[in-house]
Symmetry: C3
């Protein structure tokens, strides 16, 4: 599986990780997650180096993990610090350690750095609205999709699908887009695709969520922001037509994609709103809407694609292109460049014999299925 | 998968196809089926050339298919005739078309031509009894078997299995076959295996279906006809012994095999009878009998064979042969010749650089499982 | 799959085989089992050489097996002795035979010899306690584990896992092992690992099974015996501390492993006790305890290992070793030597052109999944 390695991936939402052991797979590796007694989140390889037992089925003893098979204990750095054999207190075997992954907790998520290079704490994409509870109210969830995450990128980066795949729910009908204006931008490695519709009616879901939009004409923006490798924000913004901010109504929908394997993606999704901040019932209405669109309509479509393409390499299939493919294709090509640059750098470092941050090799077994 | 390509395959029974979109897999390809407003059946590739969405999950708009992902529309020839982007009416992308397959509707079935050569409308095997409602009454069904269709051919072409596999249902016991006479014929590419038993009792199922056969001696014929690649008719015929046509009682059982993949076959089955044409209850009795024999007894046996053989190439296994293997083996060898001839012809045409009927290559993805 | 071939494998417990046809897979081959009228157990290849039907779905006719597809009959030596076609009594096809496997019935089990060399009736590992009903009372069972049998060997040969994997059931806590003494022995190809704990309390399960152990200090032994390729006995023995045999209480737990495939093992397990020989209720209590430990706790752990290792070749993974790995590792290396010796001998015999015991090749199909 070709993936960007020296980058942050979301392993879990903050509320999922606590004083218990849990496992999440990222880039084909099982990652053990828990919190230390001081609350700090920890990410270790889930594979015991003795006999390949799954550590997350063991016990949390203070800040240590005890293997469920023969009881070796590992600290939060992955170092084996206790061997009960023989006589309750044996020697620590040389090399008895599991890989520890750098962790940042920010924007409501536990981010894990999967590469060998020094982690860059400033490299997180901006999802401040998830954790800014003064100005936004956010709902969140997580689910899996059976396809490569680039196919999920494609889905979000080309919103023309909304009219068809989400007809009757999010879709506002073809009339709505007759005079649509599209603006595409690249700022560093960030891509934007912005859609403007002036003087239309708000989508029916939005009229339901915010009654201030009923019966008026609105100017609408749908701005999609993408950061590599799979970080999407869809910003939908309504104001009363021909005003700057009357009845300003906005949501920031996050799609944070973590590659589990070549053909499986975990989507961490969020919907942050700027209105109805005190209305709990809106949480439920918006969750139902998001789950139908993401977990039924989009998921089914993206999984059907895998079955019909038979590969995850779209460009090798020589598909037909239409105008709105511009942003998805730009994202694919940028991502390809970044991965190739990373591979080139790795090769050069190996050639130069230079040391990487971690000396010990990690058990990275092939999968048996 | 080695298959005869320039031939007609049954995609569906006529009653299955209508003013809705459906999909059937033939030779590893997903085929979209529907009827135009004028009733004509259409077969297209089910894969949208834009992003590989399954067209059968879209909408039928008049005689056009609208893709469920971004709304491209294709006519009944497979040509893209509408692109809603941008502004509801964008340019038609060059090469935006899906393969269209020649279709014939005859004998109650929708037949699709899978090869590149000109389709031959006279090449259908004869199943007139299915659609001749004046002289026959027919029941039909469809189900899948997990094995290569040649193993299903074998089953039907060697009726000696009836005594054992269908003991207690269709089987009439060993006594019945003591004086059996077998005649094998080849007429063009059609093979016949005919079995004659004179002066016996009718099988118990037949006595139940047609009480005229109770208590008399009969002369019985069981004639199997095979046309390549997987078209079988089993004609069972009883008359009162030593007469030409007293109490003439006959069924024509069709087994029409469509290869779905190397290890999966779709069987379209029919049972046409010459007696009790007004008796609806007989439909149910005969359906129960056919479904038990085909969908339980034969299916289980043929699927067990795949598990035990571990390949679909029977002859490479060097099996033990008995006398009744003559017809199945003749069918396998004839089929092999036909496929090799087709491959030779393709190679020669490619070498000569000659154009085939369809210029555009088709997306034929490998399967991801 | 690399396996020791010239050895006895358990195909079934004696009570499983009778006057019916059953199938068990050993070393990737389906084996047909039944008893002749005189009670003798028979093991044949389950694959009919005519069309690869599963013989165990046929009928037992006296001591013969009738194929469920076209009715060929085979005797208990695997020779085809009847062909009903044509006319109820056709010629026997040349080479119509299935492989017959040597069988011994001993220690309550049906043992089958899988290799080409002459079977050695003296090569059975000693499980006399299973069939010695004067001195022992035995419960037995059988279940499958999804991993290579060497991983199951590892589990039983390193009892340090009991404290962790069986915490709360068989495990007696770390205190119990503080002063444990371990003795390892090799006698021919038999390995022993013996653990001694003096002056401790009996495990809670044992106090429950034998109330004589309640409230006294005991000297405990846990002796594990291993014979290649996968024959384990765990002997647990308690006597009142500082005596030779007061309240002598002992169980002999057999784990008899039969390789089904590279990643699947059948475990025949037994628990023979020396106490409470008349108490039927103890059978149920001990069965519940054994099934929880073996079929839930150990099975889950061993199957997780396959998923995380991604291979069945542990040593190639370069695992971390601890002191208690000595016996499992010794067993792996001894087994490797035996398999390599067998392969060498085969190569030499082939080079010398010498005849093996069985001249006819056997159908050994690859598996289709
Ligand atoms: S597998 Fe973890 S301690 Fe043995
Ligand atoms: S996939 Fe069919 S229109 Fe995009
Ligand atoms: S498959 Fe056994 S007799 Fe034909």
């Amino acid at each position: 599986m070709k993936h960007l390695k020296n980058t942050w991936y979301v392993a879990a939402w903050d509320y999922e990780v606590g004083r218990h052991l849990m496992m999440r797979e990222i880039l084909d590796r099982p990652i053990l997650l828990y919190r230390e007694e001081n609350g700090r989140a920890v990410a270790l390889s889930d594979i015991c180096p003795h006999r390949y037992a799954p550590l997350h089925k063991g016990r949390l003893c203070g800040d240590r993990v005890e293997c469920p098979y023969h009881g070796l204990q590992f600290d939060a750095n992955g170092q084996c610090v206790h061997n009960p054999h023989p006589h309750g207190n044996g020697p620590i075997p040389r090399n008895a350690r599991v890989r520890s992954y750098p962790v940042i907790e920010q924007y409501g998520a536990i981010w894990v750095w999967m590469g060998e290079k020094e982690p860059d704490p400033n490299a997180l994409p901006d999802y401040h609205f998830i954790s800014d509870t003064d100005n936004y109210r956010t709902i969140r969830g997580v689910f899996d999709i059976e396809n490569h995450y680039e196919m999920v990128n494609d889905n979000a980066l080309d919103l023309t699908h909304v009219t068809f795949t989400h007809a009757g729910t999010l879709g506002a009908g073809l009339d709505n887009v007759r005079n649509e204006r599209v603006v595409r931008e690249r700022i560093g490695n960030t891509l934007w695709c912005k859609r403007f519709n002036d003087g239309i009616e708000a989508g029916s879901d939005f009229q339901r969520f915010n009654p201030a939009l009923v019966g008026i004409k609105v100017d609408k923006q749908q701005n999609v922001r993408w950061d590599p490798p799979g970080y999407i924000v869809i910003i939908i913004r309504y104001v009363q037509a021909d005003t700057e901010d009357t009845h300003y109504t906005s949501i920031f929908a996050g799609n944070l994609l973590t590659p589990i394997s070549e053909t499986r993606t975990r989507m961490f999704w969020s919907v942050s709103r700027t209105f109805g901040l005190q209305i709990e019932a809106l949480d439920h209405a918006m969750r139902a809407s998001a789950e139908l669109a993401l977990m039924v309509q989009d998921k089914t479509m993206i999984e059907d694609q895998l079955r019909l393409m038979g590969t995850t390499d779209l460009e090798s299939m020589r598909p037909v292109y239409i105008a709105d493919d511009a942003t998805p294709v730009a994202a694919r090509r940028l991502l390809k460049e970044l991965i190739e640059a990373e591979e080139r750098e790795e090769r050069e470092q190996r050639a130069a014999g230079s040391a990487t941050r971690r000396a010990e090799p990690e058990a990275t077994p092939e999968r048996v299925t």
